[in-house]
């Protein structure tokens, strides 16, 4: 009976009939309270979200699987020490962490929550070594700031060995999911992608010229190998195949044009073998690709399209070059190391730019998609999600080696995404955007990628682009709520009340139990200056997820707006306790101290924020303001200059610089700064007000009057109007009593 009941339980679980499964499981457990039965029963409870019951059932279990499940329940119930004990009790021998990679990941999470960063990093690293596709572990590593470890893990040459790229197969793979990139990466092995290594975008991408843009469409990069022939058949290309581990090289790949085929290998000309077959498929592939390309071209939404089109021209040229060179050299494919003939070399992370999006050439990511070089320029159409059409062309590639190829292409994909995410966590936003643009169009148009892109633009203070990315994400994936709190902040910055209200209503209707949705609501009310209500909503978000660092930060900002500094400090500190790399919270602490006139503290906190995100011009600007308040004007000026250099569009930095210059009595320079500022922000009353004050100091009362009048014209708020008017009245009065006491 036991065996039968076990089967029944499994069936119920598969059909998601949790109640039934639990009932039968309990019968089974009552009949024989063995560990396997306990494990099964606990699984039923867990699927039904009843961790506490599973906890009690599994208490004392010793089998690895049971221990893992027990640890999972404990961690969900918040009993971290028990969870750790369960996972580790025989950890001395390091023999097992139950479930290998997953167990290490769980341990890593526990360590992270108990603030043992290095232990957490170790565990995540272990997890990734055991299972390179454990994306969550990689994500956690990046969030902890373990940049080098993450990069090394991802671009580990051994991975390429483990998941060799089967050229022929890769073709198939390519076409189908149109993820050109993955393939290339494995080749790279030795090269590790550091951006530095990216060679000139060229060779690889050049492929485009290859006759029909074979399916690839997406990745122009296609390794040089492809160049040789329109057909990707390279993989077949003979020379390398031997070096490749992939099974049945020749047969499989052929398939359609997968142009990009693994880099390295092809080195040589597209194999003659590939040629004939390829050409036909290539042709076939070509058309769809071009068709796709059209589609992408039509999508004028993203500006990148035009960029892309421009790149097409470049690509064409490049491809010409490629053809001239011997294929191997051209491919910078990483494979070269692997291939005897391949010169790969450049693999160049750089390619990415060319790749589809025509984006910045610098992209660091390894990308090399096998890419449809040919079609790439057009196909790159980042936006077009239609890329999926390509699979149609996908040829037959042999089944053999399909699984490995699948893994290899998945690896490629993960690498790009991983690099992009890692760069975002390091706040290298430009690089992140470039990396992500190497993705195949259909992956690019997915919710996670677009939200990440939106966040990258947000960190660069490019709110307009960020809004566009998020809008697109919402169109493609309307039920996705993670990441929308950033979108709401973007709309908050842009002061778009209507859109923010609409977004808030939509997300709350979707899911009332999502902390992200409540953050959106909170931001909406904060924009309306309803700070009490906003606070309530942020606290609701925190009730749903107490470890949501950003919600703590937002609470802190609301307390600050209410001038409740003690609570604000507490909130920011909690956010930092949860996530030390949350630079917004460090900044928040700095603003509170600045407001309380504790400028030393403020400067310290701004500096800490800057160590995490050194590319934020707003942070530099604030640090400059703090230094100015401390009368360290020289440093303040250099800081502000850094702010200006980092982001030309930051008007506040220039404004502050003018203020500092004015305080140093360098009136002329201040005036020139303000004049320049007038050009960029012609409707800003503060600029004219400051100019008026400087003119007054220079005794140019008339010009001061003019400036003040313009300031008045620009309709500042009512309290400011009185301020400006009193300034006008005092024009005749000497400077000393100028500032109204606050």
């Amino acid at each position: 009976m036991e065996g039968f009941l076990t089967e029944c339980v499994h069936e119920s679980l598969n059909a998601y009939l949790h109640g039934n499964a639990i009932f039968l499981g309990e019968r089974l457990f009552a009949a024989n309270a063995s560990e396997e039965n306990a494990f099964l029963l606990a699984t039923c409870y867990l699927r039904n979200n009843q961790e506490y019951r599973a906890y009690h059932v599994l208490k004392g279990a010793t089998a690895p699987q049971s221990r893992y499940l027990f640890a999972l329940c404990c961690s969900k119930l918040g009993k971290l020490s028990e969870a750790e004990h369960a996972l580790c009790y025989s950890c001395k021998e390091e023999a097992e962490v139950p479930n290998g990679a997953a167990g290490h990941y769980l341990l890593g999470l526990i360590c992270k929550q108990s603030e043992r960063r290095s232990a957490a990093v170790n565990h995540f690293t272990q997890a990734l070594t055991l299972d390179p596709f454990l994306w969550s572990a990689y994500e956690e590593l990046c969030l902890l700031g373990a940049d080098e470890e993450a990069a090394t893990l991802l671009h580990n040459p051994d991975l390429d060995l483990a998941y060799p790229l089967n050229p022929e197969a890769s073709c198939n793979v390519e076409t189908a999911p149109s993820t050109p990139a993955p393939i290339n990466t494995p080749l790279d092995r030795g090269e590790v992608v550091t951006p530095a290594t990216t060679g000139p975008p060229s060779p690889r991408s050049r492929r485009p010229s290859a006759p029909p843009p074979p399916a690839r469409g997406t990745r122009t990069q296609s390794s040089t190998a492809e160049v040789a022939t329109p057909r990707p058949s390279e993989p077949r290309a003979t020379p390398s195949p031997s070096t490749f581990v992939t099974p049945s090289p020749s047969t499989s790949s052929l398939p359609a044009a997968p142009p990009p085929n693994p880099p390295g290998k092809h080195g040589n000309a597209p194999a003659n073998r590939g040629g004939p077959g390829a050409s036909t498929s290539g042709a076939a592939a070509g058309t769809p690709a071009s068709g796709q390309r059209r589609k992408f071209d039509d999508d004028g939404k993203l500006r990148k399209v035009s960029g892309r089109i421009d790149d097409e021209g470049k690509l064409r040229k490049v491809s010409g070059r490629l053809f001239a060179e011997p294929p191997p050299s051209v491919s910078g494919l990483r494979r070269s190391s692997r291939l005897s003939g391949g010169t790969t070399s450049s693999e160049t992370p750089g390619k990415p730019p060319v790749n589809r999006r025509g984006a910045q050439p610098s992209s660091p990511a390894p990308q090399s998609y096998r890419g449809a070089v040919a079609s790439t320029p057009a196909s790159a159409a980042p936006k077009a999600a239609a890329a999926s059409k390509e699979p149609a062309k996908d040829p037959v590639s042999g089944e053999a080696g399909k699984a490995t190829d699948g893994a290899a292409s998945a690896l490629q994909l993960i690498r790009i995404l991983g690099d992009g995410f890692r760069q975002l966590c390091m706040y290298k936003c430009q690089d992140c955007i470039a990396t992500l643009q190497q993705l195949p169009p259909e992956q690019y148009a997915s919710g996670w990628v677009l939200c990440t892109l939106g966040r990258a633009y947000f960190e660069m203070v490019d709110y307009v682009e960020s809004e566009r990315a998020f809008d697109w994400a919402r169109r493609n994936d309307p039920t996705r709520l993670e990441g929308l709190e950033v979108f709401s902040t973007v709309l908050w910055h842009l002061k778009k009340e209507v859109q923010l209200s609409f977004l808030a209503q939509e997300v709350i209707a979707l899911d009332r139990l999502s902390p992200h949705a409540w953050c959106v609501m909170g931001n909406c009310f904060s924009l309306q200056k309803e700070h009490e209500t906003a606070l309530r909503f942020f606290q609701r978000a925190l009730q749903l997820d107490p470890n949501f660092a950003y919600a703590h930060t937002l609470c802190g900002h609301e307390y600050f707006a209410n001038e409740d500094f003690e609570k604000g400090l507490l909130c920011f500190r909690t956010a930092i306790r949860i996530d030390e790399r949350h630079y917004n919270a460090w900044y928040g602490l700095g603003t509170i101290y600045y407001r309380q006139e504790k400028y030393e503290n403020a400067e310290y906190h701004f500096t800490r924020a800057l160590t995490i995100n050194a590319r934020s011009s707003v942070l530099h600007c604030y640090r400059g303001m703090a230094l100015h308040a401390l009368n360290r004007n020289a440093e303040a000026l250099s800081c502000l200059q850094t702010a200006i250099d980092t982001d030309e569009k930051n008007p506040l930095a220039k404004f502050e610089k003018a203020s500092v210059l004015m305080s140093e009595d360098r009136h002329e320079e201040a005036l020139s700064e303000l004049e320049a500022l007038k050009e960029c922000a012609p409707r800003e009353a503060s600029v004219f007000f400051l100019m008026g004050k400087i003119y007054k100091k220079l005794d140019k009362a008339n010009q001061a009057m003019v400036s003040f009048s313009i300031a008045l014209d620009l309709k500042p708020s009512s309290s400011d109007v009185s301020l400006i008017k009193s300034a006008i009245e005092k024009l005749t009065v000497p400077d000393d009593s100028e500032e109204e006491e606050l």
Partner: protein
Amino acid sequence: MSPYWNEARDMGDEEKNESRAEIGKLAVWSVTSAKPGNGVEMLRDDNLETYWQSDGGQPHLVNIQFQKKVRLKELEVYADFKQDESYTPNKISIRAGNSFHDLREIKVVDLEEPVGWVTFSLLPENSAKEYIRAYFVQLAVLSNHQNGRDTHIRQIKIYGPRQDLARAMGHPLQFTTTEFSMFSCVR
């Protein structure tokens, strides 16, 4: 419409919210007399159904004492003649100063069957000032409608001026353009 929209008292009152902040939580509130069950806490519970009922001789006083000198802008009282009739205050005097014995009357207001929030500005007439500074504010109910002895007050809120981010960071004016305000903070 989602019910959450009703939670905000006044969505359209952005100007008001921008210019003032409720600071009653910084003060100690006391009353001269109260009926058991209708004490001073009913004045501050954000519930318009509950009220404070006095239980002594007139004038009935509500004392609001701050720990440090704060900036004050206005006072709001919720009174409801329809529900409270003869308990509704009729004449209210507002005094401010440094301590209980050092108060100066700054406003006297007559209410005529009020239903809802009544706002009393604490600023002197025709003054450009945005606030007054005081330690102590006293609200005195001098008489009630229909000559009632005791009074009901349902809620009192006291507001100070709100300092916006720009001024908090030392800039004299608020920013009028989005370009400036976008870069003015990290959120």
